[in-house]
């Protein structure tokens, strides 16, 4: 028994019939083909599937697609602005904050939520904010630096503006 949902993803409006048990992450990956959001676990611990729902970081494996009805969703594919990388995307590249890349989209989305709430976080605050996202490659060292890079860049941009 399908339910119709209306959801805006990365600025584009969609309407789809979905099975009520479809997870939001499956909807994004299987229906919309947005495979940048990854599935790393089945217990909502790894954070690889983190996206923004109405501006807040959400693990999209913990949410049903039907719960996103009427929401505004942003995934990693929507982070760059007309080809200009988001400061977090740039930061992860500049500071070598990724290796295999599998956790990276989730890391970037969680970090986006953090910088929205706390534009100038300390190392400790960054580490605490990212404790729901596993990375097995980097030891987190350069991820912290990547977020710091982005925080600095955003703050400089705002000063200019």
């Amino acid at each position: 028994m399908a339910t119709t949902i209306q959801v805006t993803v990365n600025g584009k409006a969609y309407s789809h019939d979905v099975d009520p048990r479809t997870l939001l992450v499956q909807y994004l990956r299987d229906v919309l083909g947005l495979t940048g959001t990854h599935v790393g676990c089945d217990t909502s611990n790894c954070g690889a599937c983190t996206i923004l729902v109405d501006g807040k970081a959400v693990k999209s494996c913990t949410m049903l697609a039907v719960q996103a009805d009427g929401s505004e969703v942003k995934t990693i594919e929507g982070m760059a602005d007309n080809g200009t990388l988001h400061p977090l995307q740039e930061g992860f590249r500049e500071e070598h904050g990724l290796q295999c890349g599998f956790c990276t989209p989730g890391m970037i989305m969680t970090s986006a939520d953090l910088l929205e709430r706390n534009p100038n976080p300390t190392e400790h605050e960054i580490r605490e904010a990212l404790e729901g996202n596993f990375c097995r490659c980097t030891g987190y060292h350069n991820i912290v630096k990547s977020v710091q890079y982005a925080a600095k860049k955003i703050s400089n941009q705002e000063k200019v503006a």
């Binding site: 495979t35 790894c46 990693i76 594919e77 990212l130 729901g132 990375c135 097995r136 490659c137 987190y140």
Partner: protein, 788 residues
């Protein structure tokens, strides 16, 4: 800029990953694709009385259910192992069959019983729950040492005492016993190097695609070595012709060893696709990954080290029971033997060494290489012995190491160092890395702080680990003599296109290591062309001629060297073409900055011109073949031997037992460095995994063989707030036997770090008289030790 080697060039591959455009196996959707769900045994050991698939097959959308009986009747083989280790008496190791689906008995929790193929993942899973399997549960054994005891349940009827092999290396035991009998002091440790789970964040996935029209198969898989998977699957399991099979390992989300091996699911999706004439995709969920990915470590060890009165090591005696799991995974037999026993020399001049290993079957999932593979276990043993001995003999742990270090040698002017355990080290300067690490930590000052802190009831500790490892595996003839069933060379093809752009095909595979950047730096630098003109292609058996894949920190040392060999051939042939164009003799030319110049003149011809001429050979050297495209196999002359000094500083909370890692200093020598940013990243990641084993991680099987912490809710992996930022530095002692002088950086951090952390905790706890605790050093374990 054409000078790339040694520069922290930003990674080429990042763009797709930071924009969500990576292409991992589970992202691939093929027309008509079906989805597989595997029914697995909930018991560690059970006789299978019956499997009823009728209810499952009645569900709408189910395409087919295959069982162990179908596999048995099809006549295909099981999963082979790639390494043979013999018993001490010369008998061949026990090598029981490992069917793709079992029909008679399940031998570990997660053993595959049936596979459901359906139109969607959800239907497959629903139907999987409807497959009715009748099990008769049997007694199980999960502990390696207990499995060898009389009366233990047998995993395989034809492996008495569950022994796969027994094996020893080094000096005859009698000689070691004699050396030990003369020792002034013997330090003894008995411990478990606990089982850990690799946990790449991308779960394993495989898609089998049989195309009847061309009789061709494609396997997309989360693999660290697609070519070896193809060889094993075609020649040993399914008996299908290798030239009809393409194996693609696209972007792979981490491996750490767990994706080296040929897994049953890969052969299963191909076999099912051939039967059904449709693509079949299987992706593990995390719980399934915990149960079925090959695990690492799991040694039960007794180690004794004898010293003279001045602290010089006189001998080392080691007995290890190594858990291999229920079946033999691809490299399983070599991990606790040739990758473990051969490291017992460490950095020390120990004159007599004997290491004895029993490989044991248990009712647990397979154990195989996990980051470091055997070398972390050896390093843990040696470095725990060193710090414990220092404490017992009241010698400073840094001083004890200095007394025993092998003196520096470069492998060129001074010969390599012949160990007592088969290896010959290539080059090393062990004092150097320890000296630098001590400077960085501010050792003397720390000891003063520690004293003062103790007076205030604060438990600070410092721990050392000075390690060596053998990587860049490996010389084929050597590993062949040691039981490897494959060569361990690498293949590198350099195809210069007519326009002078360069496509490079490597048999190495990147799943985070950054080959597309590092290898391009080497190629661009050597050819004197921009990096943008170089493309690195890997992970597809149809475009890359052959390959042995990425593990054992071998990509740059072996795979990079293969590319260099091809570059040399390109430059050599290019010189002939350039000489013809410049009407000069080859001997009068020099190649630099992307052009051939007649020495002492300004007459030159560029790389692009030469490339075009090679493909448009109108005015061309007589007798020279057109084209500029070379492939090389590089078989290394020796292993490479990175080494380093790691120091951990911890604080133990006396009220809760919680260990906080305050600082971690690592000075590693991985030979020459192509991209320091990437090498540092490899060290960071390695450290986190080694520290994870010390403090947080450990697979727990109960006495019934149930994996009781098989989820991220239960298995503790390092999170961002568990770790400090690392303090790292580097020393460079080039490898003398490969053209790049590189040694390998992927595993060093993991190999060195674990004992440093445990030693630091033991140092912090020394006022309590605690000398040894089992890993992971959880708050509960530490608190109980302090309060007992």
């Amino acid at each position: 800029m054409t000078n790339y080697i040694g520069k922290a060039v930003k990674r080429v591959e990042d763009k797709r990953f930071i924009t969500g455009k990576g292409r991992y196996t589970d992202d691939i959707i093929l027309p008509g694709m079906t989805h597989a769900y595997i029914v697995r045994s909930p018991y560690a050991h059970a006789r299978i009385s019956s499997v009823d698939t009728s209810a499952a097959e009645a569900i709408e959308g189910v395409v087919k259910v295959f069982t162990g009986k179908d596999i048995a009747e099809s006549g295909i083989n099981g999963i082979p192992t790639g390494w043979q280790v013999n018993f001490k008496n010369g008998d061949t190791m026990k090598e029981p069959p490992h069917p793709l689906l079992v029909s008679d008995k399940a031998r570990y929790m997660g053993d595959a019983v049936a596979i459901v193929i359906a139109e969607s993942r959800e239907i497959a899973r629903d139907a999987g729950d409807m497959v009715e399997v009748e099990y008769e549960e049997l007694p199980a054994v999960a502990d390696a040492k207990k499995a060898t005891e009389a009366g233990a349940p047998l995993v395989h009827d034809d492996a008495p005492n569950n022994m796969c092999f027994d094996w020893e290396l080094g000096n005859p035991k009698a000689e070691v016993d004699e050396a030990m009998s003369k020792a002034h002091h013997i330090t003894t440790l008995e411990f478990v190097n606990q089982r850990v789970i690799p946990n790449a964040i991308e779960p394993r996935s495989a898609i089998g695609h049989f195309e009847e029209s061309s009789d061709k198969y494609t396997l997309y898989t989360t693999s660290q070595n697609p070519h070896l998977t193809r060889l094993l699957m075609c020649a040993f399991v399914l008996g299908i012709p290798e030239h009809k099979v393409r194996v693609v390992a696209p972007d792979v989300g981490g491996g750490f060893g767990s994706k080296i091996f040929h897994y049953a699911e890969e052969a299963l999706v191909i076999w099912c696709s051939q039967r059904l004439k449709r693509p079949v995709k299987w992706t593990a969920d995390r719980s399934e990954a915990f149960m079925t990915d090959a695990h690492g470590r799991d040694h039960v060890t007794k180690a004794e080290m004898g010293f003279d009165k001045d602290g010089k090591i006189m001998g080392l005696r080691v007995k290890t029971y190594a858990n291999l799991g229920a079946y033999l995974s691809t490299f399983a037999p070599c991990v606790p033997t040739w990758l473990h026993g051969t490291l017992m020399q460490g950095l020390y001049t120990t004159p007599k060494i004997n290491v004895d290993v029993t490989g044991v079957f248990t009712h647990t999932v397979m154990v195989d290489a996990y980051r470091g593979a055997g070398r972390p276990e050896a390093t843990y043993l040696l470095e725990r012995l060193m710090d414990t001995a220092a404490l017992e003999m009241k010698i400073d742990p840094a001083e004890l190491r200095r007394k025993n270090f092998i003196p520096a040698f470069d492998g060129v002017k001074q010969a390599g160092y012949q160990t007592q355990v088969a290896l010959q080290y290539d080059s090393g300067n062990y004092q150097g890395v320890l000296k630098r690490a001590l400077e960085m930590v501010g050792y003397e000052k720390f000891r003063e702080e520690q004293k003062a802190a103790r007076k205030d009831g604060k438990l600070l500790g410092i721990g050392f680990s000075t390690y060596i490892e053998a990587c860049g595996i490996a010389p084929s003839a050597v590993v062949g003599a040691l039981g490897a069933r494959a060569g361990l060379y690498e293949v590198g093809q350099v195809r210069v296109q007519p326009t002078g752009k360069v496509s490079v095909y490597t048999g190495s595979h990147s799943h985070g290591q950054g080959h597309e950047t590092t290898f391009a730096q080497v190629v661009a630098d050597r050819l004197g062309i921009p990096m943008d003109d170089v493309e690195i292609i890997h992970g597809d058996s149809e475009s890359v001629a052959f390959g042995m894949g990425t593990y054992g920190s071998r990509s740059l040392a072996v795979g990079g060297s293969a590319i260099v060999k091809s570059l040399d051939k390109i430059i050599e042939k290019g010189a002939k073409i350039a000489a013809h164009k410049l009407e000069a003799s080859e001997e009068d030319l020099e190649f630099a900055e992307g052009k051939w110049t007649v020495k002492g003149t300004d007459k030159s011809v560029g790389f692009g011109d030469v490339a075009l001429t090679a493909y448009v050979p109108h005015n061309y050297p007589a007798g020279l073949e057109p084209g500029l495209d070379f492939s090389s196999f590089y078989d290394p002359a020796n292993f490479t031997y990175p080494f380093g000094a790691h120091i951990a500083i911890v604080e133990v909370d006396q009220d809760t037992g919680k260990v906080s890692l305050k600082r971690f200093i690592a000075v590693d020598d991985v030979g020459n460095v192509i991209n320091p940013m990437i090498v540092d990243g490899q060290i960071h990641g390695g450290l986190a995994q080694g520290i994870g084993q010390a403090l947080l991680e450990g697979a727990v099987y109960d006495e019934n063989g149930q994996l009781i912490n098989g989820s991220y809710m239960d298995y503790t992996m390092p999170r961002a707030d568990d770790l400090p930022s690392f303090e790292i530095d580097r020393q460079v002692t080039p490898c003398p036997h490969n053209p790049l002088g590189v040694k390998g950086a992927g595993e060093a951090g993991t190999i060195g770090s674990t004992p440093a952390v445990v030693n630091a905790v033991m140092d912090a706890l020394s006022p309590f008289g605690i000398k040894n605790l089992e890993m992971p050093l959880t708050p509960e374990r530490v608190w109980r030790a302090m309060n007992s």
